[in-house]
């Protein structure tokens, strides 16, 4: 790892991004609180009958986490673009897709993983049956990296824009639909006592594909939108 080698560059990037997250560790709780509040809105809006809540619990947790992840996406490249360090990544002598993969990894680790840890609690708030909890966590573990990877491509496309928040949501959400169907589908199947392996396998396959393709697509998109 001599300075300037590719592993050193990735290590420097990881260290920097983790330090930045640590420096503003207060912000790290925002997605958690957001998800919590969104989940809390539903009993208020729908009325508190446990039977009804139980039936829709998994789906609502999934949607809440997806929306929280969506709002968090905005921070992925935004500050790097604004302060010009994204330019430096593009101009660095290392494969851009690899550097971006590091960034996406840190982002997933610091925004999505805490949400997954929170998920069982959110389920509990909505009286989610205990036996579904395991499937929910597994589905989220497969689905959230996919969300981050696909989201990153869309963020890369919109990074140079003002007020991209809404637009980003419009670009990203249609692409999230299949993930939501499979992820929530697995939970619903488990809740109905049906086998839930098939949709999880589909998610896993998609994740493998995205792990390979998304960083490349992300790099290409970034090159387009930075010019």
């Amino acid at each position: 790892m001599t300075p300037g080698s590719t592993p050193a560059a990735c290590a420097a990037l990881l260290r920097r991004d983790l330090t930045l997250v640590w420096r503003r560790r207060g912000d790290a709780f925002n997605p958690l609180l957001f998800a919590l509040i969104v989940v809390a809105l539903f009993p208020l809006a729908l009325g508190p009958e446990p039977e009804q809540l139980r039936r829709i619990a998994a789906g609502i947790v999934f949607v809440a986490l997806l929306l929280a992840g969506l709002l968090a996406l905005d921070t992925l490249f935004r500050s790097d673009y604004e302060d010009g360090s994204l330019e430096q990544l593009v101009l660095s002598p290392h494969p851009l897709s690899l550097l971006l993969a590091c960034k996406i990894g840190v982002h997933w680790l610091t925004t999505a993983l805490p949400l997954i840890v929170l998920a069982p609690l959110l389920g509990e708030l909505l009286h989610l049956p205990g036996e579904v909890r395991g499937v929910l966590v597994v589905a989220l573990l497969l689905a959230t990296p996919l969300l981050s990877l696909i989201g990153a491509v869309c963020v890369a496309l919109t990074v140079g824009m003002h007020r991209s928040g809404m637009l980003l949501a419009l670009l990203v959400l249609p692409l999230y639909v299949p993930i939501l169907i499979f992820g929530a589908g697995a939970c619903n199947a488990a809740q109905a006592g049906l086998p839930s392996l098939a949709p999880l396998l589909w998610l896993a396959a998609a994740l493998v594909l995205a792990l390979v393709l998304a960083p490349l697509a992300c790099a290409a998109a970034l090159r387009i939108s930075i010019s």
Binding site: G4, R15, R16, S85, E87, Q88, S92
Partner: protein
């Protein structure tokens, strides 16, 4: 239009041939020909919107030129060949405000390596920020931030510096600092292309100058005596 500049026997460090860039079909800068050899500092002057920043971004490979070509050591440029050889100082500076000056420089060194005999602390000393290494960049003033960005340039192990308005935000001692850094870099065999627009004081010796005036934009400047 392209006038090839064949006076140099050995290939120049950087060479632009009939280089032009347009956005939405509006020319930003016209066809330009120039060379930049080792040991040379070239100052690019031009009014607002003349396209100085854009030219630097084209030369650094961030933007693709609309027409013409750029040659590096005599061979056509690709981003892969270019990036280990050039450092760009842009308006934003590329500093993370939450990190300290030293952390910023260490990251830069990790990303692109560091010049022989230089280290993040010594680069910071060289720009006169001794003792500010552990201060978060957010707490530095605009001029001090500029100095940290200059330290990053100084640290990069590359021969070609592309500096966009290195004098902006700096007070007089900062301007002298930039001139000293440039002289030293040229003396060590590097080359630099720097921009500055008319209103900034530039006090260095007598570097070669390129004036950038786009016809269309020049037409938009104020006719003197327009005051009612």
């Amino acid at each position: 239009m392209p006038v090839f500049d064949e006076t140099h026997a050995r290939p120049a460090l950087l060479e632009a041939r009939a280089l032009a860039f347009a956005r939405n079909d509006e020319p930003i800068f016209g066809p330009l020909d120039f060379t930049l050899s080792a040991g040379e500092v070239v100052l690019m002057e031009g009014d607002n919107g003349a396209g100085k920043t854009t030219l630097l971004r084209v030369l650094s490979g961030l933007l693709a030129p609309t027409s013409g070509e750029i040659r590096l050591h005599g061979e056509p440029l690709t981003l892969a060949r270019l990036s280990p050889q050039v450092v760009l100082l842009s308006h934003q500076g590329g500093l993370k405000l939450e990190l300290t000056a030293l952390e910023n420089l260490r990251f830069a060194a990790g990303l692109v390596g560091q010049r022989k005999g230089m280290s993040p602390p010594s680069a910071l000393t060289a720009v006169g920020l001794d003792g500010y290494g552990d201060v978060p960049v957010r707490q530095l003033s605009a001029g001090q931030k500029k100095r940290v960005a200059l330290a990053r340039v100084l640290l990069a192990p590359v021969a070609l510096w592309l500096l966009d308005e290195p004098y902006a935000n700096l007070d007089r001692s900062g301007i002298e600092l930039v001139n000293r850094l440039l002289e030293r870099h040229a003396h060590d065999g590097g080359a630099a292309l720097i921009t500055s627009h008319g209103a900034y004081a530039y006090t260095s010796g007598a570097p070669r100058r390129i004036a950038l005036h786009d016809a269309q934009r020049a037409a938009m400047t104020l006719p003197t005596g327009a005051m009612a």
